[in-house]
Symmetry: D2
C-alpha cells in the first residue's frame, strides 16, 4: 500500500517516540515535525535527518501533501489542534487522554464522524503483545468469568502541574480495562480516593475502584510518590488468573490454574462449606514476541486510514476513558462514594 | 523471674503455634491445652509431651495453678471465654480480632480493668523485627513526615464462612498501622470497597482507604482470591520511604532516599514549578534479626504480667482495630464513602 | 505396620531436625537421643518431652528395644559409630557424607551387607518434591537428552575447621546428581578448582566440573563466602530445560520449552548453519506439594527396614558420592585437571 | 572541540549501535557507514538519513575527510581492516575481541604505536556506570582485599559457527576483570572446561577459572544454552562484597557489609576457631546514572584522539584479553589444568 504521509505535532515527552516509530514504519512516510520550540523539534529528528521541522501547526494543516497528523501535545490543546486538523481534512491520531473534558472529547469525535475522517486514540498499551494476549484470553473464555482486575502503576513520577495523578496515569489502565473487557463485565461506576501529601495542589496518590457488571470489581492504584516502579496487573477469573508484570521482560504474563471454586446450594450452611474447593495447579508463562507497541500503533493508524475502517482504539474508546476520569473526579468530591457511569 | 503458668484454649489454626512458643519460652510454663476436639488438642502437643490436655475450659479456669490463658478460638467466642477467664482471675491474651463487635470488645477491656488483670491483644506482626524497626524509623523522624501507607496482603486464602476478608485479614494491617503511627498521623476515617465474585455471601476481595491526619493516606488491599502471595507495605515519608516485603527473608526492609520535594510559594504558577525537586539517592537494607515474632509475643505477655504493666499491644489497641473494622462495614453499606472515626 | 523403634545419635546441627521428624512420624517411635553434651541432647527433645536422653552411645547399642539408629555426628566418627551400631544388630541411617574416606565408607557398606541390615544415606535433598519431580522428568524423557547440570549453592556459611567447602556442601549436589541421572549420563571424571582467600587452611570457595557420558557436563559452585544465598540448579535437555530455585517456595521448578536444535549434516559449513534452529516456547511451573523432605526420609527408612529392601538412597549411593569427593581432592592437587572416575 | 569525523565499518549486529551513538554524540561527526551488504548499511542509518553509505572500505580509508574508523566486523577481519585503516592514517576503535589471535593483536598494537595513532578496544561494559563504580570501590579499598570474582553470563544465545562460547562471551568478563583489578590481584593463570552437548563443533557451555595473585580466584560461566538470561557478578572483598546484577535496572549494584573475618594465630587449632567471626550488616544499593555505556565509549574515543592520549581501554587491554583467551584454549586441550599467564 501507498505509505501514509504523516506529520507529528508536539515534540515533548511522547512526540519523539512517535517520530522514531513513524520513521521506522514502511507503511508511513514522515513529512514534518512541529513544535513551538524549534530546537526541541530538531532534537526529535536528529542532526542527520531529512525530515522537515516547523513551529507553525498551520504549515502542517496547510500542506496538501500531508494526509494525517499525530498530536502529542498537552490534553488542553487537543480540542483546538485535532479540530483544526480535521477541518483541514487530515486523519488524526491523538495522545491520551483524548481531551481535557468529556464535552471536548465529544466535539472531536463528532467532527471526525461528520468529515468521515479516521480518528484514533493512541492507547499504546493496548498494542503491547501482553495486552493483546490478555484480550484473547478473556475473549476465548480461558480465564472463565472475570472476578477482579487489580492494577498497580506506581513510581517516582514527574509531578504534573496542571493535572492530578488520575488524569496522568489512570488513562493507561482505564484504556486497557476498556480494551480487554467485553460488555458483560463493563464498569458500572467509579469511586476515587486520593491524597496530596506534598501540597502539589491535587492528588499525587490515587486509588480508583470500579464495580463491574456481574459482581466483579476493578481497582487501580496510581502514584507519583513511590520509590519503586511497579507495573503489575492481576486479572482473576473463575478458570484461570493471570498476572501481568510489565517490568519483567522475560516473563510478562503468568497464567495460574489456581483459585477457589464455590458452589452455594440453596440450603444449609453446613452443606455449603463442604462445597468450597481450591484449585492449586500449574502456572504457565506463554512466549510473547518482543514487539514495540508504538510500532503496531502507527501500523494500525495507517492501515485503518487506508482501509477506511475504525482503528482498534477509536475515538469512542478515548471517550469512554474520559467519562471514567470525569466520574472519578465527581467521586473525589463526594468522599469516595461510587458514582454511576 | 518465676515462669508464668499458662494454658492455651483453642488448638485450631493458630493455637499450635502458641503451644510451640510457650513450650520454647523459659519465661513460661505451659500447663494445659484445651480444645473441644481432644484429638486436635493432642496433636498440638504431640505424642511425646507431658502437657495436660482437656476439652473443658472450666478445667482451665478452675485450676488455681494456672495464672494466665491464651485464647485462640473464633472471634465470636472471645467475649464469653475471655470474660470467664478474667472472672476466674486469669490474665488473658486474645487472638485478633479482640472480639466480633465493638461492644463485646469494650466489655472485655472494661472487665480486665476492673479486675486489675493483664489483657493483651495478640497482634503478632507488631512483634516482628521488621515492624519494630519500622516503628523506630517513624518515631525517630528518619522517614520524615508520613505521606502514605500502602499495604497489599493477598494470596489464595481460606474463604471463611462467618467473616468477610476485611475481618479475616485487615486486622493485621490495621494493628500495624495503629502500632507504628503516632497520633499526629492517626486515621480520621475509613472507606471500604469490596466484591464477592464467587458468591461466598460476603466480600472476598477488599480495599480499605483511611485518610490520615495532615493529608496523609493509608490504603489496604486484602484478598482471598489471588493466585500469588503478596505481603508488601510501602510507607512513604518526606525524608525516606521504606518498602517492607515480608516474603523476602533476606531483605525484608528497603529504605529509599528517593522522593519528591515540593516547595509551594504563595505566588505564581511559574515559580512553583521551579521549586519541584527530585531525590534519587541510595537504598539501604538494614540487617534484621530472624527472631520469631510469636516468641516475642509470649515473652511480652509474661513480662507484662509479672511487671504489672500494660503490654505493648494491650486491649485498647485491639479495641481501636475493632472500631476501624466497624467503620469499614458501615462504609461498605454507604457505597464506599469515607466514614469518620 | 509396627512403628520402628529408633534412637538418634548426635544432637548438634542436624540431629534436632531428625528428632523432630521422628517424633512427627507415625511409622517411627523415638526412644532416645544421645549426645556427648547432655544439655544439647535435652534441648533437642525440649522441656516437655518423654523421650530418654543419654550421653553414652553404648546405652543405645545395648538397648534391645531399639531397632534402628540415625547417626548425625561428624563424618570422622561415622565409621566407628555406624560400625558399632551394625555390630549390635541395629539398622542404620547415616548423615552425609557417609564417611570421611572411601575406605571407611566401603567398610560400613560391607558390614551392613554381611549382617543383612538396612543402611541408608540421609541424602535429604533427594526426598524433596522438587528433586523427586526432576528425577521423573529426566527418567520419562521430558527433558530429552541431558546437556548440562549447573548448580550454585552459596551463602555466608559456617567455615568448617576440619573439612573444606567441597566436603561440606558438595555432597548435596553430588547426591542429587547421582539420584536424578540414569547411567547413560553418569559422571566420567571430576575436576576441582578452589581458593582459600581468608586463610582458613582449606578451600572456602570451590568449583567442581564433572564431564558426563555423551558429551554432557555438570558443574557445581560451592561457597562459604557469599553475602547472598543462592540455591539454583539448571538442568538442560534437548527437549526441555528446567531451573530449580530452591529458595522460591512458590515456584521452585520452572520448565522451559526453550533451546537450540542443531542438526549437523556430513557436508558443507554453509548448509550446517541453515540447520540451527531456536525454540522459544512457553514456561511451565508445575504445582508441587510443600512436604518436608526429612519426613519422607524417616518414612523411607522405616519402610525399607520393615520391607527388608534397600532404601532409595542406600549405602552405595553414599559411596558413589564419596568417590566423587575423593577424585575432587586429587584434581585439586593436580592443578584442576579432570581425574577419571 | 572540533567534532571527530568518523566512519563505521560493519553494520551487522553491533555496528548499528555504533551508528546510533556516533549520531547522538556532539563530539563526533558520522561521515559514512560501510558494509559489504549495502542494504544492511542503509538499514543502519535509516530511510531519512544524510549519512553516506558504501560497500567499499577503500572509500573510507581513501577519504581524507575521515579521521577515525570504528570497526565492527568479525574478529578474523580485524587484522586486515584495522591494519589498512592505520596505514591510511586513521585512528581506530576495534570491536572485541581485538583480533582472532595474540599474534594478530600484537601486530595491530605495534602498527598503531609506530604510526602514533589512537587504538581503542571497544570494551563497552567498562564504560557502564556499574563497572566504573565497581572499579572505584576496588581502587579506594572499600571492598578491602579481593577474595573472589564470580561472573555468570548465560542466556539462549546465538550459536556462533566460527568461534566457541569462550571467544564469543568471555571477552566481556575478561575485559571487566582486567579493568577493575589492580595489578596486585592480577590473574596468574587460566583453566577452562567446556562442553558441546549439541554437536556445534566447539564449546557451547564454558567455565573459566583464573587464579589471582594473593590467593584470590576468578570464575566465569559462559553459556549459549540457558533458557534464562543471567548477567550477575559477585566481587567479594574482606571489607565489603558487591553483587552486580546487570538485568536489574533499578538495583544493579548491591554492596553488602557481610563476610567472614578469620584471624589465624601461629598456635593451636582451638584458639583459631575462636577467632572466626561473621559480619552480617546492612546492604547498600548506590544510586547510579542510567547512561548508555556506548555513548561514553564514543566520547572517550573522540576525547582520547583529540587529547593525543591513550584511551581508558587501549590496545594493550585488548591484548591482555586475547592472551587470557589463548591460555583458555590451551587449558581446554590439557584437561582443564591451569595454564600460567
Amino acid at each position: 500500500m501507498d505509505p501514509l504521509r504523516v506529520a507529528v505535532i508536539g515534540a515533548g515527552y511522547w512526540g519523539p517516540n512517535l517520530v522514531r516509530n513513524f520513521q521506522a514504519s514502511t507503511e508511513c512516510d514522515l513529512r514534518s515535525v512541529c513544535d513551538l520550540d524549534e530546537a526541541r523539534a530538531r532534537r526529535a529528528v536528529g542532526r542527520y535527518s531529512t525530515v522537515k521541522v516547523t513551529t507553525a501547526p498551520e504549515d502542517v494543516f496547510g500542506d496538501p501533501e500531508i494526509e494525517a497528523v499525530a498530536i502529542a501535545t498537552p490534553a488542553a490543546t487537543h480540542r483546538r489542534l485535532a479540530g483544526a486538523a480535521l477541518e483541514a481534512g487530515k486523519h488524526v491520531m491523538v495522545e491520551k487522554p483524548l481531551a481535557s473534558s468529556v464535552a471536548e472529547g465529544e466535539a472531536i469525535v463528532q467532527l471526525a464522524a461528520e468529515r468521515g475522517l479516521t480518528l484514533m486514540s493512541d492507547h499504546t498499551y493496548c498494542y503491547t503483545p501482553s495486552v493483546q494476549r490478555i484480550r484473547d484470553l478473556v475473549a476465548t473464555g480461558t480465564l472463565g468469568d472475570i472476578q477482579y482486575f487489580d492494577s498497580v502503576r506506581i513510581n517516582l513520577g514527574l509531578v504534573q502541574r496542571d493535572i492530578d495523578v488520575f488524569w496522568d496515569l489512570a488513562p493507561h489502565d482505564l484504556s486497557i480495562l476498556d480494551f480487554i473487557l467485553p460488555d458483560q463485565w463493563a464498569p458500572v461506576g467509579v469511586a476515587a480516593h486520593g491524597a496530596d501529601p506534598i501540597g502539589a495542589g491535587h492528588a499525587c496518590v490515587g486509588y480508583l475502584t470500579l464495580p463491574l457488571k456481574r459482581g466483579a470489581i476493578a481497582h487501580i492504584h496510581v502514584n507519583w510518590l513511590s520509590p519503586t516502579k511497579i507495573r503489575t496487573t492481576i486479572i482473576a477469573g473463575s478458570r484461570r488468573t493471570l498476572v501481568w508484570d510489565d517490568l519483567n521482560p522475560t516473563q510478562r504474563l503468568s497464567i495460574f490454574d489456581r483459585g477457589v471454586d464455590l458452589h452455594v446450594p440453596a440450603d444449609t450452611e453446613a452443606k455449603r462449606e463442604i462445597l468450597v474447593s481450591y484449585r492449586s495447579g500449574e502456572m504457565v508463562a506463554p512466549a510473547l514476541p518482543e514487539a514495540e507497541a508504538l510500532q503496531s500503533v502507527v501500523t494500525e493508524f495507517a492501515t485503518a486510514v487506508r482501509a477506511r475502517r475504525a482503528p482498534l482504539t477509536d475515538g469512542q474508546s478515548g471517550l469512554r476513558v474520559l467519562k471514567m476520569l470525569d466520574a472519578a473526579g465527581r467521586s473525589l468530591e463526594d468522599g469516595g462514594r461510587v458514582v454511576p457511569l
